[in-house]
Amino acid sequence: MKKIYLDYSATTPVDQRVMKSMQPYFSKIFANASSLHSAGKLAQEALADSRQKIANLLGVSPEEIIFTASGSEANNLAFKGIFSAIDLPKKHIIISSIEHSAVLNPARFLEGQGEQVNYLDVSQEGIIDLEKLKNSLKPQTVLVSIMHANNEMGAVQPLAEIGEIIKQEKEKRKKEKNNYPLYFHTDAVQTLGHLPFLAQKWGVDLFSGSAHKLYGPKGVGLLYLKKGIKIIPLLHGGSHENEKRASTENIPGIVGFARALELAYSEMDSEIKRLKELRDYLIENVLKKIENSCLNGPKTQRLPNNANLSFAGVEGEALLMYLDRQQIYCSTGSACSSASLAPSHVLTALNLPPKISHSSLRFSLGRWTNKKEIDYFLEKLILAVKKLREISALKINY
């Protein structure tokens, strides 16, 4: 049996079609897009075409896209860039308690600099409470950042409703002549190219994306920054990216990002349906065939490719290693996999009993996952759980 990769939410392989689109831009069309000569012009055109393609797919303007080297950089640019640009006291941020560390830690950094941060908790299904969000807004709130979908347990947040709350707050501030700006940012790294994303309609002011999560190359991300929003760059230097991010542009990477997004959009509807069916097949079979297993996170409002499951009595990392031996690759938020010895902040936020959070594994499906793979995986999973329960000192009535 070949290797079974069930960790697509960590990263994806580059699609051959994406590779092909990138190929000319390494050695053939290699010039610096800032160079005035004709070779530079070719690179500049590839950059502009890619930006236009991505903007069209996402329903935004090309000038509103800043290419970065990663999703993490995009998040950092959003947070630090906005805060550096606003010279007002007592600025306030709201984020959810289940954000990726690439949002959580920029927020904590700003908190360390004296800004105030609210961490919104979530329901047991991992969804934020809109009332709590409303109540957390202060006249000095300048940034609300809620991820589109959670990377660990797949909860998809109600961005349209959040956008509506932000819109009302903006109108209120206009009336009250409150000059604190308010921005709505979302980390869309898990959803861009995977789920419909309607930035304009939802009133999103900034969002972050990354190519390697959608069968594009690593080392390319983007930040959407709505026209008129001021930020201070993280990287000062040349006038690249509309003076918002200095660095010679990664043309092959950006071309690959555009091609990857194009492919993702052309296949999105059928892929969502296919992945949901496979995911539900996986979940149903696990729950039916393995006693004392459970699904973590939302039942329906969930990424089509995400299954986060717990197997009572079995420690998550041990199970991961067992599956690894069978060349089945997944991920865990269990304590034993971290230096802190605490389960991941996401599982903690779900208020799961320790025996559940310590035994959780994330299986994330993707473009090349098929039913045959899932069947083989299920067979090996059942055996691994049985074996580890024999070894386990934590006895549950199986």
Partner: protein
């Protein structure tokens, strides 16, 4: 530093083929450390005759290194006298298992504690 330890054959061997696994009826001593909250639980059962560990069994809920630590510990102490086993520290378990990520070292400490608890349990009963 890498978090991977798949290349450590010793850890992998004891994880996939744990020695002296199981429970024991009427043990002379029993030691337990950990709880579900911390994600590790180790049980050690001893059969002791004339201050010699005649038999040992274990069960571990925990990661691969926790399981391997307890497993190799059972091999290290089987047939030894109680005073000999006093010398077995987490350091000795680490030496026996070989290189592991720093954040896994606490697993070896837990294994040592489980054994020490079992022996304490035995000595307490003896004194009474």
């Amino acid at each position: 530093m890498s978090n991977h330890f798949q290349d450590n054959d010793k850890i992998m061997d004891h994880f996939f083929n744990p020695r002296n696994l199981g429970t024991m009826k009427n043990p002379d001593a029993f030691g337990q450390v950990g709880n579900p909250r911390c994600g590790d639980i180790m049980h050690i059962y001893l059969k002791i005759d004339n201050d010699v560990i005649k038999d040992i069994k274990f069960q571990t809920y925990g990661c691969a290194v926790a399981i391997a630590s307890t497993s190799i510990l059972t091999e290290m102490v089987k047939g030894k006298t109680l005073s000999e086993t006093q010398k077995i520290s987490s350091q000795r378990i680490r030496e026996a298992l070989g290189e592991m990520p720093a954040y896994k070292q606490h697993c070896t400490v837990l294994a040592e504690q489980a054994l020490k608890k079992a022996i304490k349990d035995y000595q307490k009963d003896k004194n009474v």
